[in-house]
Subunit: 284 residues, 2 copies
Amino acid sequence: MEILRSREAVRRWTAGHHAAGRTVALVPTMGFLHRAHTDLMRAAAAQADVVIASIFVNPTQFGPDEDFARYPRDEAGDLEKAKGAGCAAVFLPTVAEMYPAGAATRVHVDTLSTHLCGGSRPVFFDGICTVVAKLFNIVGCDVAVFGEKDFQQLAIIRRMVRDLDLPVRVVGHPLVREADGLAMSSRNAYLSAEQRQDALALSQALAEADGRFRDGERDPDVLRALLKRRIAAVDSMTLDYAELVDLEQLQPVRGPLEGPVLAAVAVDLQGTRLIDNTVLGRAG
Amino acid sequence: MEILRSREAVRRWTAGHHAAGRTVALVPTMGFLHRAHTDLMRAAAAQADVVIASIFVNPTQFGPDEDFARYPRDEAGDLEKAKGAGCAAVFLPTVAEMYPAGAATRVHVDTLSTHLCGGSRPVFFDGICTVVAKLFNIVGCDVAVFGEKDFQQLAIIRRMVRDLDLPVRVVGHPLVREADGLAMSSRNAYLSAEQRQDALALSQALAEADGRFRDGERDPDVLRALLKRRIAAVDSMTLDYAELVDLEQLQPVRGPLEGPVLAAVAVDLQGTRLIDNTVLGRAG
């Protein structure tokens, strides 16, 4: 597995594969890899001839009071996991490599970015769009794979790719859970044993809403109230949002529900941000 | 010369040339072509194996009170001129082809965009950056050529290309003047004979400032005052700006002047926006 640290090295790497007729898939990550990431890498291998992962904790998507500095990092462990998952290369740029002095450009997606995670994190999606556009342009990938845990991020990136005519096919991959239901996240590393137990309320609340939907409940306000009640019952959690939104524009839906909708929740658990979501009534 | 109207047709066109080992240069225009445009196309031919021009009056860079609807258009004449200038293809998309329903993404460049033309035209540079990023991604060009008449636009596009790692080399080409000094512009078509005579004040004021600079004047405020005085002397003109700025960040400079600086002016001439600029003391 090749370890690439400069944009120039990545361009040459891709050019070599393209010259040989091979397609390239990118899996962008912030590192501290876990099974949800390695699942994305394995899924990417089914989409292209070679897979490159990027590992970059992107400062521009963190607000001033957020956890950029303490975000967990483990380069040696990440390289081992990426290699085990079949990556042909890993791109590990520094902040200075990605944002040289004078950088002044950002990519903004309206409407989709202003609520849910964008409501409490105003710079978040501009930071993500800008870094993802950069990564697509640096790597020159044919396809990129993103997890549906960040469902809003995936919808915004799809929108950006269409709107800017970026020549990249975007593929979503289902959220991956621990055996007990907790959505996998690098931020789970922040949790104490007790907090980790409390965190299960998110996946349990979503599973309960899904069950109610399957049993015929079609009033989104009833389902929203259920989610909020389950979260409010956990003393250590502060609700950010618990919403039911459509799958395209991610706008709050009104009843009675007809097609599939996304139930999405975000909380602060004593300083750790946790998000989770599920498409109500989706098979599997 | 091929006439391409869909993004898909352009992608195929470029893919064919790239597969044959030929490089592609793009000259983005808003049409109503004149010699400054055909000069760009000829300059582009020196930069790549084949040249494609785009002709698109981009609605997102016009404010609500600006001249989008009446901006001059002449498709038949443009095609003839592009062919005469050696273009291998022209891309002529509709607004719906470039901005399908739901488009919600824009590219913004800070600092460089907020003054000069950006001061009086708040959506202007976001519109330009977004459409240029799209054109680069659609065409997949290796190089793109822009005129220095829109000096600020060129600086902003260079910044965007660096910041988003767009794999395109940007080349600037000197401003082209009529025999009497008037900077060539599609908007000159709006001018009556009398207005056209008045418009010469811009190039004359810049030439006078350049002469004073060559004679040793190093106080930018003296040169700014000269430009403003010459423009104020023309009853039909309303000043937007007359500035001396550095060549990189386009920020107003203080004296005493040392290196080369850009003198840039913009006026409203009875409803027609005119801009002009010159690099003080530059040879040629």
